[in-house]
Symmetry: C2
Subunit: 345 residues, 2 copies
């Protein structure tokens, strides 16, 4: 019998319809394949991107030349522009404003790797640090309300360049889904006096069947109302509203948990396309007690059909309990060869 | 300069970022290709589907045999089941219930056509009539709250069988996006005293730059805050809350407008994958003054990336004014050869 489950954070219903697909390995078909060709993100090609905003580099090296480990540049084709005024206004029944905002690209390695799972945990730690440092800097711009950090891996997941990178978009208004999650979690807080996501962590750790990783202050779980097969959430155990308030110590824990989650995913589904996003509180709010930042990882192994688009109702053919077990049992190599040695093109 | 626009119905912001893609014909790459093989939806293969629920047939022919024009069967792999009780309950912080509901497939032609644009307008009229008749029948089941009629054309749009068909899912709860649209339109009504979608139709007809088709009581337009390139909405000019209240006369008008919209889309983008959905008021509500049923057509010519998933914020590289002009200027054949003659396999 299929089961309807409601995600308490987003408020959306999901159909867990396990009759429709028998085995997790049916989702292994969507493998990422290197495409080759010229890559503007590789070390040595620094002049092919806009000038860098931030880079973690070896001592003595110069901006926009080799010697960096993580490099942040403006998006060459930005969806939003930094310069100008918002000029918010109505057009009859509609609302509009100028496309002010920031759109940056975080290049995660000087080598041509396709996924963070190919990096060392230490290298991924610097990527996470760059996420934080860029958010802290952009937060100073009072026009910017929200930061969305996201990552597309594979063409099917929307990546136009395969070299592993993340993107950061800061918008002058709160996106709809961010506002909805804030509202729902705030309602829960007013009623129960606790953070909903803290409650979820406690319930999931006590139950255990949807927990994939639990280490160094971070929990990786397949959410109860997973929209997609093998969807994972990565949450800090300790309540924190804003991602950018992450401490140096927590950065190490997050990098470790994220690394293990992605390596288990890549091992389970044979390098599938995926997205991840950081869900965090808008810049304009303080350290609210009702929302808890986290990362949502979405493997792109099923097509999103008309039903999902029309309704916000999802049909998921793999129960999250099954997915968690499969991910826990994945035989993943404990440590990659390291980007400095084997992962060159 | 990119522009932020808010969809007043759904409340979501969209970035119209026309710098990112120069010309509409860049989106023509995603062509639907016939895959061949055995098709359970073709005339003569009636025993390969579950027994029919409804069929419009020639006099003297028998159920589950040839002689039909439109045929409705239960989905062989239903996401929801008709039998049983809802048994709504909590699981700690979560909500769950049994997956009760209806999941039907509407087969649109006895011949192996890939898109309704290959049908005659008269044949499409019978498809629309089947949509209505099935909704009216399912509305009698008091457990069912909402009807979602949707169509997937092409593998990229989630179609698992290419033979042109639609699906109808009825759920025991209102999906999130349906509820949100109702809430927002109700708020507008309380403030302005008019239906928001009636206001939109009036403003768009007066403006004209986003109107694609305007005939026989129906308007086809590219919405002001289009999420996707070439997104289209098809609306009845006359305020009607429930799709299933459509009159026989309006069915002819809708089939004509839908047919022309899809044929212009297929001609403009060279047979792209797409979805469409009927947005209508939940069964449990009366003929409310604040919501207006309509069809949303979503071409699947760009990948949905992490930003869209995480935020409900969309980046659209084609301005809807440009898309509307392209669709209006499409050179489409006025009438297909007809399914009875040229469209056999």
């Amino acid at each position: 019998m299929p089961e309807l489950r409601r995600d308490p954070v987003a408020g959306r219903w999901v159909i867990i319809a396990t009759d429709r697909a028998a085995r997790p390995h049916q989702f292994q078909g969507q493998k990422r394949v290197p495409r080759g060709g010229f890559c503007p993100f590789c070390e040595g090609n620094e002049t092919k991107t806009p000038p860098e905003i931030l880079a973690y580099r070896s001592p003595g090296t110069h901006p926009n030349t080799p010697g960096w480990r993580v490099r942040v540049v403006p998006n060459k084709y930005p969806a939003l522009r930094v310069e100008g005024d918002l000029h918010m206004r109505g057009v009859g029944v509609y609302d509009t404003m100028e496309g002010i905002g920031a759109h940056e690209v975080l290049i995660e390695s000087p080598k041509h790797v396709l996924s963070p799972s190919e990096l060392t945990t230490e290298a991924l730690e610097e990527v996470v640090r760059a996420y934080r440092d860029r958010m802290l800097d952009l937060k100073k711009d009072v026009r910017l309300v929200c930061a969305m950090l996201f990552k597309n891996v594979g063409v099917e997941a929307g990546a136009s360049l395969e070299h592993s990178h993340s993107q950061l978009i800061c918008t002058p208004v709160a996106p709809k889904r961010v506002q909805e999650e804030m509202d729902r979690c705030n309602e829960f807080y007013r009623f129960r006096g606790r953070c909903l996501l803290c409650d979820i962590i406690q319930q999931e750790l006590a139950d255990g069947q949807r927990v994939v990783v639990d280490k160094e202050g971070f929990v990786v779980l397949t959410p109860y109302a997973s929209r997609f097969p093998f969807e994972m959430w990565i949450l800090p155990r300790q309540h924190t509203a804003h991602f950018e308030d992450i401490t140096d110590e927590m950065i190490g824990g997050l990098a470790g948990a994220l690394h293990e989650a992605l390596r288990r995913l890549d091992a389970s589904l044979d390098d599938p396309p995926y997205n991840y996003n950081i869900h965090t509180v808008p810049f304009v709010l303080g350290p609210v007690p009702y929302y808890h930042w986290h990362i949502e990882v979405i493997p792109r192994v099923t097509a999103i059909a008309g039903f999902e688009w029309g309704t916000g109702f999802y049909i998921n053919p793999v129960a999250p309990e099954t997915a968690a077990q499969f991910l826990r049992e994945a035989s993943w190599k404990r440590e990659p060869a390291g980007v400095g040695t084997a992962a060159s093109r």
